[in-house]
Amino acid sequence: MNRSRDPAREAEELAVTEEVLSLLRHDARNKLSAARQAGAYLKSRTERTDLWTSDARVPRFFSIIDEQLLLADEILERHEALARVHERSPDLLDPARIVAMAIAAAQPMGEVRVDTSVDPGRPQADPHELVLALRCLIDNAVEATPSGKRVELRGVAGDGRYAFLVEDQGPGLHPDDFHRVVRPFVSTRVGRRGLGLAIARRVASRWGGALTCLPSESGALLELTVGVGGAP
């Protein structure tokens, strides 16, 4: 079967894969590192006792424990490599075009209006990743905003960075809650995967920026920044 390549869909699939693997790596590495550290402590203590020299299997067993944990960690590295097979292409982008593509790719908006105001600039990122990150923020904002209200998306050129600000008219988001909901698989809404903000944060970080929650009197205000030059 001959299927045409869809870079936007590939970027989304890769982003979801990365979030899943990142969480698995983090949780698995916690367990592996604790086991390696416990083994290292016991080894250093046992080395000072007669047991170390009286039974040749004891030092060998400590080596086996460490080797096996190291191998398990290398398996995690190989999965990490798998997630990076996709080639990202850093481009200098037209922010107005990126915003238009993100709005076009967003979920149906119903009676919510999205107003845009985009400064000229040259943000540097993979275009499909940046469109995906903005799309995630727009989807979140539209979903939080009551029918008949609006979402505001601004593009602001700054010193060494370009910022996309997405502000909704929903119930708002306290910065302390933002730290919780930005984690993968955490959502305040039933039936959601809770990956959108995590994906947006990872994309921003990869391209020299960040995703932050700013104070707002309207609702939630999120700022996604990326660099404007140089390699990621």
Binding site: S22, R25, H26, A28, R29, N30, K31, L32, S33, A34, R36, Q37, A38, A40, Y41, S44, D73, L76, E80, D176, H179, R180, R183, R202, S205, R206
Partner: protein
């Protein structure tokens, strides 16, 4: 009891407990912290601390969220993230990353070096 040289912030009990044991066995004085909230309360209490080791992913947020408070209250301290996430290494403002899963002997040697040569960046 000596003042802690290292503040170790990690919500994974096993990971924190075992790393603290190794550091203490190497002669480093450690104060263990399990949550971001505890860390925010502890940082102003330890102005002479030389090193903050903070897990990148904590239950209530990111370890790097502590960086401004560390810079404000711990003028001599380095701020190092402990993480299995390669993206942590690219965060601005941090002094280093200890990668979870690395050889514990290497981690101990790096901590000893940081503690014996405190930051003077302020």
């Amino acid at each position: 009891m000596s003042a802690p040289q290292v503040l170790l912030v990690d919500d994974d009990d096993a990971s924190r407990f075992t790393l603290a044991a190794l550091l203490e066995d190497a002669g480093v004085v450690v104060r263990e912290i399990a949550t971001l909230e505890e860390a925010r309360a502890a940082i102003p209490e330890e102005p002479d601390c030389l090193l903050v080791l903070a897990d990148y992913h904590l239950d209530e947020g990111l370890g790097v969220d502590l960086l401004p408070l560390v810079r404000q209250h711990m003028p001599r301290a380095r701020f190092v993230l402990v993480s299995g996430d390669v993206e942590a290494g690219s965060l601005p403002g941090i002094d280093g990353v200890l990668r979870k899963g690395d050889d514990p002997r290497v981690a101990i040697a790096r901590v000893q070096a940081w503690v014996s040569a405190p930051s003077d960046a302020g």
